[in-house]
């Protein structure tokens, strides 16, 4: 649905040059909620603003719904933008218009007639639960209500794509939750594709199907959350599950276990200990709800070398758990190895390997 190819943006001012985007290749599939995470200054806003060409890229192309926006004339681009909704951190509502008036703006721009506008505005306000506030001015609304107006406005011309730049960053956790729930519902009911920018891991965990991590203008990691979670070297996954430990100072074989859904209910640790008579040392664990499902990660140490633990590890794998033995031969792993771009976590893994082997 959204595809950027070698997207590069260099800001030049008299005495300096900032590469805000450095050959970014991003692919957001139809109907998914895609989150882009990164520290301040990583280039997240620049990325989302180049998707609808509010910012012209220095080089590279942007394609939305099969149209290459970077190749369009100004007039055609304006027509395409009507099909791409956008919401903002600071809402950007017109203070001079009431709620209904704000939602009507994109319809006016698209040349929709008055009667149809009134009907559509009513429908949109229903959708976001603000019908009672149609005549209120933005200054009279709470942050969460303002963002709902922003969402209604963004959806006015039935877009296929919704861009959200830090849409919940100005809201408290509870309101954030309700806005995220709304976005999720809209994705299902309208079949929207949503690209959202955030610096909060929680937002990604709550609503996203896929995510990318940006650093200094580059996408250093990306994929579906479920994929990322099974990558032992994924920094996004590690941030999602801050086990916050190394395998240092423990004897035995250190194993990371990732489990999801019904597996969380299984008492596999005690079964393991009882059945195979091994000492299980739990080094850390975390359970989280990711993309609407329970997912957990646990790091345990089993007494003895890997060879001595082949059978218990086999048992864990038989239970359908994702088992990652730290420090063993990568080729034997049933999941992708470290990616080249993520060099520092790759070296962290091999350092652990050295100690354990």
């Amino acid at each position: 649905m959204i595809r950027t190819t070698a997207l590069t943006k260099v800001f030049r001012s008299r005495d300096r040059e900032v590469t805000a985007l450095d050959h970014v290749d991003l692919h957001v599939a139809e109907g998914e909620i895609f989150g882009v995470l990164g520290r301040s200054g990583a280039g997240k806003s620049t990325l989302i603003r180049t998707v609808n060409l509010l910012e012209r890229p220095t080089s590279g192309t942007v394609e939305v719904a099969g149209r290459e926006l970077t190749a369009l004339s100004a007039g055609r681009l304006r027509a395409e933008r009507r099909r791409i909704g956008m919401i903002f951190q600071h809402f950007n509502l017109l203070s001079s218009r009431d709620v209904a008036g704000n939602v009507a703006v994109p319809l006016e721009i698209a040349g929709v007639g008055r009667a149809e506008r009134t009907r559509k505005v009513g429908e949109l306000l229903d959708l976001v639960g603000l019908s009672a506030h149609a005549k209120a001015y933005p200054a009279q609304l709470s942050g969460g209500q303002k963002q709902r107006v922003g969402i209604a406005r963004a959806l006015a011309n039935d877009p296929r794509v919704l861009l959200c730049d830090e849409a919940t960053s100005a809201l408290d956790p509870e309101t954030t939750r309700s806005i995220l729930d709304l976005l999720r519902d809209l994705r299902s009911s309208l079949g929207l594709t949503i690209l959202l920018i955030t610096h909060e891991m929680d937002v990604v965990k709550t609503v996203c199907d896929s995510a990318a991590l940006m650093e200094a203008g580059r996408v250093v990691e990306s994929g579906s959350l479920t994929d990322l979670l099974t990558r032992p070297d994924s920094r996004l996954a590690r941030d999602m599950f801050p086990l916050g430990l190394s395998a240092d100072g423990t004897g035995g074989t250190v194993v990371d276990i990732t489990f999801r859904g019904a597996e969380t209910a299984q008492p596999f640790v005690s079964t393991l200990a009882r059945t195979y008579n091994v000492d299980v040392n739990i080094l850390g664990a975390a359970v989280e709800t990711v993309a609407g499902r329970q997912v957990g990660r646990m790091r345990i140490a089993l007494d003895g070398t890997f060879e001595q633990n082949v059978v218990p590890i086999g048992y864990l794998r038989e239970q359908g758990l994702q088992v990652d033995v730290l420090g063993q031969d990568t080729a034997a792993r049933p999941f992708p190895g470290p990616t080249a771009s993520d060099s520092d976590s790759a070296s962290a893994v091999s350092a652990t390997a050295g100690k354990d082997a």
Binding site: R81, H90, S95, S96, I109, P138
Partner: protein, 231 residues
């Protein structure tokens, strides 16, 4: 001067003042508003500047407008009034009465003085509109004229009305010098009868009347501006 004589004079003078100021403000808004908006659009970071690039004639237009506005604003009004007499005659000629004298003629120099004054106020007001709003409109597919109409002017409206009020009051002040080209009005009445003839009553009454008019303009402007402001 006795009341019976003064009353009709006051009435005529008031009408003349209203006529001069009214027409002047009409032309001032028609020309000053677009100039003020253009000053913002053509400036660095402005929409037209971004659209056509800093190297385009847009930058030159910005410089020229800025210069013209500054020159217009630096003239003391009395000097402008006299210096413009040939121009005033020419403009009046376009309307079929080639004269630089009279109430109608006074509208020309008043407008010339008020346009740059108002244009700067417009510029300041429009500049204060949040960039995010402009961006939101662009993201909806709005063209530059649409952004100007629906966002820049509309959002700046309370502040534009305040600027209009200030300009109107300044023009009422300038119009007091209308006597120089025989245009009449309250200011002229005060100067001619009140000041030069030492007629305290005429002086007091006209000045009080001017104060009342300025107060009324200020009050109305403030009221409208507040009503338009939903922030």
């Amino acid at each position: 001067m006795p009341w019976d004589e003064l009353r009709p004079l006051l009435w005529t003078a008031t009408q003349e003042t209203f006529s001069m100021v009214g027409w002047t403000m009409l032309f001032t808004v028609a020309v000053g508003l677009p100039i003020g908006v253009l000053l913002v659009l053509t400036d660095k970071g402005g929409l037209l500047n971004a659209r056509f690039g800093a190297a385009s004639p847009v930058t030159a237009l910005n410089r020229v407008l800025g210069l013209v506005v500054n020159v217009g604003r630096s003239f003391p009004f009395l000097i402008l009034l006299v210096a413009l007499i040939p121009f005033t005659r020419w403009v009046m000629g376009l309307f079929g009465q080639a004269t630089a004298i009279g109430t109608d003629a006074m509208v020309v120099p008043l407008t010339v003085a008020a346009i740059p004054f108002f244009a700067r106020l417009v510029e300041t007001s429009v500049r204060e509109v949040d960039r995010g709003l402009v961006e939101a409109a662009q993201a909806m597919g709005a063209s530059v004229p649409t952004v100007v109409r629906k966002v820049l002017v509309r959002e700046a409206l309370p502040s534009l009305v305040a600027g209009l009020t200030t300009t109107t009051i300044a023009v009422i002040g300038y119009s007091a010098m209308a006597g120089v080209i025989g245009a009449g009005g309250l200011g002229d009445l005060a100067i001619r009868y009140g000041y030069k003839n030492f007629d305290d009553r005429t002086m007091t009454v006209t000045v009080v009347l001017l104060i009342v008019i300025v107060q009324a303009v200020q009050f109305t402007g403030g009221f409208v501006s507040r009503r338009l402001n939903h922030r």
